[in-house]
């Protein structure tokens, strides 16, 4: 399979107005009133050729933007049928009284026109209805079949303008698709857009695959596979589909991740009952041993600047979370609460570490600061684990399993997401059962 990359040219148009906007969204507050938002259909330049008109982008693009913003829990999209102004005048000269009448606070309008050589120009504007000002205006140039990416990028721009935080909509999720009975599960690597669209399978399912992660540039994936019944870490090029064994270890390697600069893979290597954390430089193949302790050391996670690593160790007798410098020195335990701690993941913002906790037979997803203080549990469940951060460090994706009955039926796994505030817990639709999710960075790389 191939993932075609189309270049998108962004033209920064009119500068945004001063950001004292009466309208803004605070995403750190707990009790949130979603911001009433009106997303108008875009206006289609009548000179567009029929082939493009057939795509109905004038409603498809706003629909995708609306789904993104609604799903974030921060925006409340008003129904199109209540809109008074039509898309073209709304975009060129909005009558703010018409929009205030339906009680929206922000308005999104847009225009789609043809550029040279069959390329599209998609322009959007973000308006503050209350102060009757234009907040943002941007245009994107792209090929028509790349309209989803443009919609996600527009969603990110809107999110960013109103919250002050980077968005997370122009991203992908990789996970393990699961089918079949529990005693003989078939597992395949799958990727999809963060909104669930476009699921593609990257492996055939002939051997177990576990715990995939994107490289920072999102062109590679590392994961663990039981290919030829040898559990090892692999590197997969998403575009070419070529899979390479990572290193030449004489035993099980597992729990792989990329370093923030994408140059190394960090993972665990198990030997004689002891699992230690190693890195391997992808180009030079130089291997470095980072932990040296008879305990189980696994689930490593780099801080976003690459200077520290959080990891899971049972050197105290039970699973706890530790940090160390990226050269393996200065090991410090940071989890001290009741229960077992696992799967630490450092936020892309660097401020928090998310984790799985098992206490009194219940599983929790929680966050703590990188010194272990401020532990906060976000959600409790019969079984859930393995949080992964959205690129803006504000949303977590994880998976849950349900209990199976005494004959082994009924147990299933699904992906869920939750905001850092503990709100907006959502089931993520996947065509099959799903586990081990991992969120990519922003595809545009910023």
């Amino acid at each position: 399979m191939r993932y075609k990359i189309f270049t998108i040219f962004i033209l920064f148009f009119i500068l945004t107005t001063k950001s004292f906007a009466l309208v803004s969204v605070d995403i750190t507050r707990g009790n949130l009133d979603p911001l009433p938002t009106a997303i108008s259909d875009f206006y289609l330049d009548p000179k567009l050729i029929d082939n493009i008109k057939k795509l109905q982008l004038e409603s498809k693009i706003p629909e995708l933007i609306q789904n993104n913003l609604s799903r974030s829990g921060l925006f409340f999209a008003l129904e199109k049928k209540s809109f008074i102004q039509k898309p073209e005048p709304a975009h060129n000269k909005p009558r703010f009284e018409d929009w205030a009448f339906i009680k929206t606070q922000v308005l999104v309008t847009g225009k789609i026109s043809l550029e040279k050589e069959g390329r599209l120009r998609v322009e959007f504007k973000l308006w503050d209805v209350i102060s009757a000002t234009e907040l943002s205006a941007l245009a994107f140039y792209t090929t028509p079949d790349n309209w989803r990416r443009v919609s996600h990028m527009i969603s990110d721009k809107i999110y960013e303008r109103l919250t002050g935080e980077k968005g997370y909509f122009d991203s992908r999720i990789i996970y393990v698709s699961e089918t079949g009975p529990k005693v003989d599960r078939k597992k395949r690597l799958a990727i999809m857009d963060q909104d669930g669209y476009g699921v593609k399978y990257l492996t055939l399912g002939n051997e177990l695959v576990l715990t995939p992660r994107f490289s920072p540039a999102s062109q590679h994936v590392t994961y663990m596979s039981y290919f030829k019944n040898l559990p090892r870490v692999y590197l997969l090029n998403i575009e070419t589909g070529i899979q390479d064994l990572v290193g030449d270890f004489p035993g099980m390697t597992f729990a792989p991740r990329f370093s923030p600069d994408g140059k190394k893979i960090i993972m665990s290597f198990a030997q004689e009952g002891n699992s230690d954390i190693y890195t391997m430089d992808i180009k030079t193949r130089v291997v470095e041993k980072l932990t040296d302790h008879p305990s189980i050391d696994t689930s490593p996670s780099y801080s976003p600047d690459g200077s520290y690593i959080a990891f899971n160790s049972d050197r105290s007798g039970f699973q706890q979370i530790y940090t160390m410098k990226s050269d393996g020195t200065n090991v410090k335990r940071i989890s001290f609460g009741e229960g077992l701690y696992g799967t630490p993941v450092w936020s892309p913002r660097g401020d928090l570490i998310a984790f799985t906790k098992l206490y009194r037979n219940k599983f929790y997803i929680g966050v703590m600061r990188s010194d272990g203080s401020g532990e906060r549990l976000l959600t409790e469940n019969y079984y859930q684990e393995a949080p992964s951060w959205a690129p803006n460090g504000r949303v977590l994706i994880f998976y849950r399993e349900t209990a199976s009955d005494s004959s082994g039926r009924g147990g299933g796994a699904k992906l869920w997401s939750i905001d850092l505030t503990g709100y907006n817990e959502r089931l993520i639709q996947t065509p099959t059962d799903a586990s081990d999710p991992s969120w990519s960075g922003l595809l545009s790389g910023k």
Binding site: T298, S299, L358, D405
Partner: protein, 158 residues
């Protein structure tokens, strides 16, 4: 008089509550204690009288006395059949994080391997693999199933 009786009742109440609390405490503790499976369900045999697996307590990889008895029988059997090779598969139950369970399965397989070696089986006859929680013997979600899944299974490879 009344006060004496009352205080006795009060004392009885306090003791009952305390014992009740203790019982609850033990029932919800999952990380300590010896809960290795001691039954015969799911157990297969390498040969007459030689069980193919040993079981472990939650989060543990130490061999119980039942485990060493079984492994002793396996060692005897393997020494009597010196051309046989085996792979030891280490497993964990589903009540733990996936990556840690992979490591725990490996530790359980090595524990069994080391015992076989110390009982005279040549190391080059024994391979080891961990399946973590990926291949349960009993797919149910209950305490019994989980105890049956915390295991190291000896499988003949030739």
């Amino acid at each position: 008089m009344l006060f004496n009786n009352l205080s006795k009742v009060a004392l009885a109440l306090v003791v009952t509550l305390f014992l009740g609390a203790c019982a609850t405490q033990q029932a919800t503790t999952t990380t300590k204690g010896d809960d290795a499976y001691t039954g015969t369900e799911t157990v297969k045999f390498l040969a007459d009288g030689v069980p193919d697996r040993v079981f472990f307590s939650t989060n543990k990889s130490e061999l119980t006395s039942a485990a060493t008895t079984t492994l002793g029988k396996q060692a005897t059997y393997l020494k009597a059949n010196p051309t046989l090779n085996v792979v030891l598969e280490g497993h964990a139950d589903e009540r733990g994080t996936r990556e840690y369970n992979l490591a725990l399965g490996e530790r359980r397989a090595i524990a069994a391997k080391n015992y076989l070696i110390s009982n005279g089986v040549a190391a080059n006859r024994i391979k080891v693999i961990s399946y973590g929680k990926e291949k349960p013997a009993n797919p149910a979600s209950n305490v019994l199933a989980w105890s049956q899944n915390r295991r190291t299974v000896t499988v003949k490879t030739n």
